[in-house]
Amino acid sequence: MKYDVVVVGSGPAGTVTARFAAEAGAKVLIIERRQEIGVPVLCGEGISKKVDDYNVLKGKRWIANNMDGARIFSPDGTKVTLDADMAGNETGYVLYRDIFDQELARGAVSAGAKIMLNTCALDLIKEKNKIKGVKARYFDEDIEIEADVVVGADGVESKVGRWAGIKTVLKPKDLETCAQYTLTGVDVNRAYCDFYLGKKIAPGGYVWVFPKSKDVANVGIGILASLSSPGLATKLLDKFIDSHPELKKGEPIRFLAGAVPVSEPYEAVMDNLILIGDAARQVDPITGGGLIACLDAGRIAGEVLGKAVEKQNFSSDILKEYENRAAASFYKKMKRNYAVKEIMLGFEDKTLNMLADSLKDVKFDEISTLELIKALVLRHPSLMIKLRPLMKAAKR
């Protein structure tokens, strides 16, 4: 078996890369260790409406709910409402992520990519240190797939990166450990995605309530691994649901666990290899959202892979264009948000309450930075000192 590009992993990063590489003329194979694309869903299922700009999805079957915006609740329950335009990566639509992933895979196949399910990558094929493809197990048969480029789209636990010698181990302070129920029979406001902050609620993270309809919602939690103890994510999530009657009356139709890198982007390219998506830590360190980054990076990677095939040059010099363009597109924001994350981790609940109290009546669709600062300082002058490092980070 010989391909131009073999993609390990059939999540959005993998299938979008495959699609654009195939469109650019590359012979592409996607391998997936599971027997179904998109399952199990490991995701809060929120996405920004920016997804519409990428034109990679047909129809609307992947949309569960169309959101008006987001509401952030501070530790004492003060509510700040953001419109969809202001709420950033995580609100816009709530997805059926399994259908979403399968639609993206359909796009890759339409462009000419091949897919092998039940195919678990075991190692890289290397000759004199040159990467020549992947060794894999197809059901119980060991196979070798030769390829000029291996794309590691194998998620947060990326093995492809490790096999290539890239240090992909995450520090516990750079990983959110997550749990989520999909609850039915709940009573939620279907217009808003809700976020709950506080050290007791979710240390180093947040609880989310993303409605899929008026009586079904994803209720999940992410906490920083460095602040976690065994099973803490699930325990805190259960506690949160118990203290919210509108959620407590529901029953779970799905339970899942997840892990999200919240780190800075890092080296994702070498000769004959690229990493993408969670494997390349392409996730917003504040929100933990990574879908739009996948679409962005996947399109860039696919185009660059097409050029590499045309030139028959698969060295890091050529592939580096992917990293450079991804950097120009969203790495700067990731780095800034990583700095903001570090600062916000130091905030006491009291500070978050003051912040929320200052912002609760602000209309976010018509505000300028100056007005924002005025609103903050008028109500709680002491916030100014706490926020100074944030302003600095924002200017970067």
């Binding site: 199990p40 691994a225 065994p230």
Partner: protein, 64 residues
């Protein structure tokens, strides 16, 4: 000195991959959709035990 080792309760593991991504020893792999820890590689740091969102990893054995 024999240290206790981290072990995965396969009934509880939901295959999120969190433990694999933070293991400095590269001791954990996903086998048939369950995290599996190589006891020979495990250095008993306990990071995976704390990280697991569902409490599926525990200590096995006593300090002896």
């Amino acid at each position: 000195m024999v240290k206790p080792k981290a072990v995965v309760d396969k009934k509880k593991c939901l295959a999120c991959g969190g433990c694999i991504s933070i293991c400095v020893q590269d001791a954990i792999t996903m086998i048939s959709d369950k995290s599996t820890i190589d006891k020979d590689k495990c250095i008993s740091c306990g990071i995976c035990i704390n990280t697991c969102p569902v409490g599926a990893i525990y200590w096995e054995g006593k300090l002896s």
